[in-house]
């Protein structure tokens, strides 16, 4: 018997549950800290305290094993089940509450799924999760859509920090994060204002890289993937390595990719969809039992086309002759946490980043039509507290950004935006009941650097917005593995710089936009109900939500009061003038997912979503524009030894709920081609037919004797039947279809 506080050890013997062969290179972890790795005989000895530890055993191609290990003199046998899907609990992170289950609908896309997809954008990496779709404008300029909300209403973070790019300002701007080397991507659906601040009405997408190691790795690890795909001749490579030198922990990662034009069904090319990009980062930290402190640097560059024509027809509102975007983001990030001995203060955590971003858009002929530049910095400090059954935090957040634009094809006015926030949150657990309550105060001010007035843009002045947001939720653990969670949350979004001060063309929206400096902030109140089930062989969830957004900002076309015709821009008399108006919006829907593995060989993953949205302006009510269609997805996988076969059916229902179209020169949804240019109503006013897509997958886990390191080959065929289908969220859907059949080969290696 060991003395109290003493440390013992246990010898584990890890084998494959089917073949009974030893499994090497299994990582043994406590939380995020790597303790050890199994050898070629499947043996690993771990040092643990007298009363044991909760350990996690992980290896590519196997379901994670979690359990309690106590010191013992005998060998403990552990069998790992080879599966393709994780049945793990959904754990998201926040600086305030650390790692744990979110009290609202959320999804986690793990590294294995990310490596299987190797998508060029964050949105493409997470599309297919319940309630998540993508607004596409080419492979790179793709933004996540959560419950029908996107752009400035969905907050995309990288390790909890704002990216500092301009992805939300236009549909042809990319999120400057390559998901190739992400550890996981967490998607929180619904208002996330309490923990993440403003711009979270739709939800939060948090890309976890952990490029500042939070724990000292016991060994050096390396993971690499390379891929090729047929739909655009794309190739790419990504790699991630972690290790330690003395007291210093390090992490490096990088992704590089390039691709030609994407081909639609019948191999018809969509010009100006080629791309190349890279995202490299490195971090250093000092980590110990009491915490960590470190810094990281990251550089992202991409050069991509924005589609402008298809089959010789210019897409509505596209830049003539296509446009290429050259984007660059440089970031420094710091992060530190100190876990205390204090009875009440669990930890103090600080972090922040500084970003320099620039983007040039090259028009036909190679001249720069528009340039954007932004400097941004943000910081957060949180003190996590505990008292009995209470666990909470108090914290502060600051952000500053200076956005400027120049060139002929932008109406964005330069401005400086500053935000300060204070928040407090408390989580109380008693038995099977967990309650969460929190409040946050945000103050944001936006100062224009160009206050010139025009006929339609008046009183250009600094605007300040103060909002109190918060959340109250409860989770009740029920028998048989069920859990019921409900939450009421409030979030807000200050008007963007473009919505306040624009005075010029916005070609990505095929409009000439005039801002309104008198806009109010959007305020949303959402209610979520989530029923979850977790069992040995599966998990399931069903969620229903509703959210009301007051003063929802939507750009609407203006009519000339003298003629009644659409007002055209004063410069070229070409683009319709749009101005923001504020309406009340209502969003509601249901989402669900069930992952079942009735036997170790079979896995069934069924998911679906039905989002709805309506806007009310005065006495009328009509659908919100650009709402995603309902979806249903079934993923069936069969594992036979090292081989996994999968078939995925993706049903996209027709989207017929569209707002009434304004009167625009007699245009209809039937596209007419005049002088090579498509003339028709904006896509948001036109219905979209449904489609059924079929994908197939073959994955082969290479035998250990064949390769020095564990390796997996995955061959995927997307859109197996080369079906022609239209994306309801794409503004060019009436002219161009989505990509055709794509054969993709991914090779993953992990050491």
């Amino acid at each position: 018997m060991l003395a109290q506080g003493a440390v013992g050890s246990a010898l584990l013997h890890i084998v494959d549950s089917e073949t009974r062969l030893p499994v090497r290179d299994v990582i043994v972890r406590v939380g995020t800290r790597v303790l050890a790795r199994s050898d070629s005989l499947g043996h690993v000895r771990v040092r643990i305290s007298e009363d044991g530890r909760e350990l996690t055993l992980q290896r590519l191609g196997y379901a994670p094993w979690r359990g309690r290990i106590v010191p013992t003199d005998s060998i403990r046998d552990i069998r790992l089940t080879p599966v393709r899907y994780e049945l793990s609990a959904l754990e998201v992170r926040s600086r305030a509450l650390g790692r744990g289950s979110a009290l609202q609908a959320s999804s986690v896309v793990g590294a294995e799924q990310l490596a299987e997809r190797l998508a060029p954008s964050i949105a493409a990496a997470i599309v297919g999760e319940p309630g998540v779709s993508a607004r596409t404008n080419g492979p790179m300029a793709t933004q996540p859509v959560i419950r029908g909300l996107t752009g400035d209403r969905v907050l995309v973070l990288e390790d909890g920090m704002r990216t500092g790019d301009i992805a939300t300002t236009a549909p042809d701007h990319a999120v400057t994060i390559d998901p190739g080397t992400a550890e996981q991507i967490e998607v929180i659906r619904g208002p996330g204002g309490l923990l993440y601040g403003s711009n979270t009405l739709g939800g939060v997408v948090n890309v976890i890289r952990d490029d500042i190691p939070r724990a000292r790795p016991a060994q050096t690890t390396l993971a690499m993937s390379t891929f090729g795909e047929s739909v655009n001749g794309g190739i790419g490579v990504s790699g991630r390595a972690r290790g330690a030198v003395g007291a210093l922990s390090w992490a490096v990662d990088g992704t590089g990719r390039q691709a030609g034009d994407t081909r639609g069904p019948n191999a018809v090319a969509l010009p100006f969809t080629d791309l190349e990009g890279m995202d490299v980062g490195a971090g250093l930290s000092v980590a110990g039992s009491r915490g960590h402190a470190g810094v990281s640097a990251r550089e992202y560059r991409s050069y991509y086309g924005v589609p402008s024509s298809f089959g010789g027809v210019t897409l509505p509102g596209a830049h003539d002759g296509g446009v290429y975007v050259d984007a660059r983001r440089t970031q420094l990030r710091w992060d530190a946490e100190w876990r205390t001995d204090d009875a009440r203060i669990e930890a103090i955590s600080v972090g922040g980043n500084a970003v320099r971003f620039e983007q040039s858009e090259f028009e036909q002929g190679g001249f720069v039509g528009t340039r954007f530049g932004q400097l941004a910095a943000s910081g957060e400090a949180v003190m996590r507290l505990r008292a009995g059954a209470h666990r909470g935090a108090i914290g502060s957040f600051v952000q500053w950004r200076d956005l400027r634009a120049e060139g002929s094809f932008t109406g964005t006015r330069p401005a400086v935006q500053r935000t300060v926030a204070l928040f407090a949150v408390d989580e109380y657990t008693r038995g099977s009941l967990t309650l969460l309550a929190g409040a946050r105060v945000d103050r944001s001010d936006t100062r224009p650097l160009d206050s010139t007035e025009t006929l339609l843009l008046r009183d250009v002045r600094t605007r300040a917005f103060t909002a109190v947001t918060g959340a109250f939720g409860a989770r009740l653990a029920l028998p048989l593995g069920f859990e019921l969670t409900t939450q009421v949350a409030r979030a807000f979004r200050p008007p963007s710089i473009e919505e306040l001060y624009s005075a010029g063309p916005h070609l990505a929206s095929y409009a000439y936009e005039i801002g309104d400096p008198s806009l109010s902030a959007e305020r949303g109140t959402g209610v979520d109900a989530l029923l979850q089930w977790r069992g040995v062989r599966g998990r399931a969830e069903l969620s229903a939500y509703g959210m009301r957004v007051d003063d929802y900002v939507a750009f609407a076309p203006q009519l000339d009061p003298a003629t009644g015709a659409p007002m055209r821009d004063p410069r070229l008399r070409r683009y319709v003038v749009y101005r923001p108006q504020q309406v009340d919006a209502l969003l509601w829907g249901v989402e669900g997912r069930a992952v079942l593995a009735p036997t170790p060989q079979w896995t069934f993953d069924l998911s679906g979503a039905l989002p709805r949205g309506a806007q009310r302006g005065g006495a009328t009510s009509q659908p919100l524009p650009a709402m995603p269609a309902a979806t249903l997805r079934l993923d069936v996988r069969h594992q036979r030894g090292p081989l996994t076969l999968g078939v995925i059916g993706d049903r996209r229902f027709a989207q017929r709920l569209v707002p009434d179209a304004p009167v625009l020169d007699g245009l209809t949804c039937s596209v007419q081609v005049i002088d090579g240019e498509a003339q028709g109503l904006p896509a948001e006013f036109c219905a979209t037919p449904g489609a059924l897509l079929l994908n197939a997958l073959v994955a082969w886990r290479l035998p250990a004797r064949a390769t020095r390191w564990p390796a997996t080959l995955t061959l995927t065929v997307d859109n197996l039947l080369d079906t022609e289908w239209r994306d309801p969220l794409w503004r060019a859907k009436q002219v161009a279809p989505q990509p055709g059949r794509n054969v993709r080969l991914v090779v993953q290696v992990e050491r």
């Binding site: 210093l248 250093l284 000092v286 050259d326 660059r328 320099r356």
Partner: protein
């Protein structure tokens, strides 16, 4: 632990700081193309009688006038100096150069829009504008290296007055 780490962190911090400064300093990271060989920004036409016309970004200052059945000899000078949009002075003479000593793959293509009004004869150093009939037209000057255009002047208006 921290004292040794502090020593280890210093060079790391310095490297990262330098990387940050390098990132700040590289303003040309996304836009500036490289141009090889001669850098031509404007063209100056010097007439035999001492008058001249010169291009300035998108327009010209001065224009040749000749008579039908008459001629106007012009020497082609170039400069790499580009003046500000509101500076309409002639580029400094010391910046002028001709293609006389340029590598042999440099050539100048002279195109007259209405070839019934005038015609051009000459080489990359200069030539003669021959007036054919009363009228007006425009002439363009394109400098190429091999088959690659490295400079194109805005079109220049000229007038051919009736023969005396």
């Amino acid at each position: 632990m921290f004292s040794s780490v502090q020593r280890a962190m210093r060079p790391v911090v310095a490297v990262l700081a330098m990387a940050a400064m390098a990132a700040c300093g590289d303003k040309e990271g996304v836009t500036a193309p490289e141009v090889e060989g001669l850098r031509i920004r404007e063209v100056i036409l010097a007439a035999d009688d001492g008058t001249f016309a010169f291009s300035h970004r998108d327009h010209w200052h001065g224009a040749p006038v000749l008579r039908a059945n008459g001629t106007r000899g012009l020497t082609l000078h170039f400069t790499s100096t580009q003046l500000a949009p509101d500076d309409h002075d002639v580029p400094p003479v010391e910046s002028w150069f001709t293609l006389a000593t340029a590598p042999s793959d440099y050539n100048v293509r002279v195109v007259i829009e209405d070839t019934t009004v005038a015609r051009w004869s000459g080489d990359r150093v200069g030539g003669t504008l021959h007036g054919l009939r009363d009228g007006a037209s425009r002439v363009s000057f394109v400098v190429r290296r091999g088959s690659t255009t490295i400079y194109e002047a805005p079109p220049l208006n000229f007038r051919v007055q009736p023969a005396p």
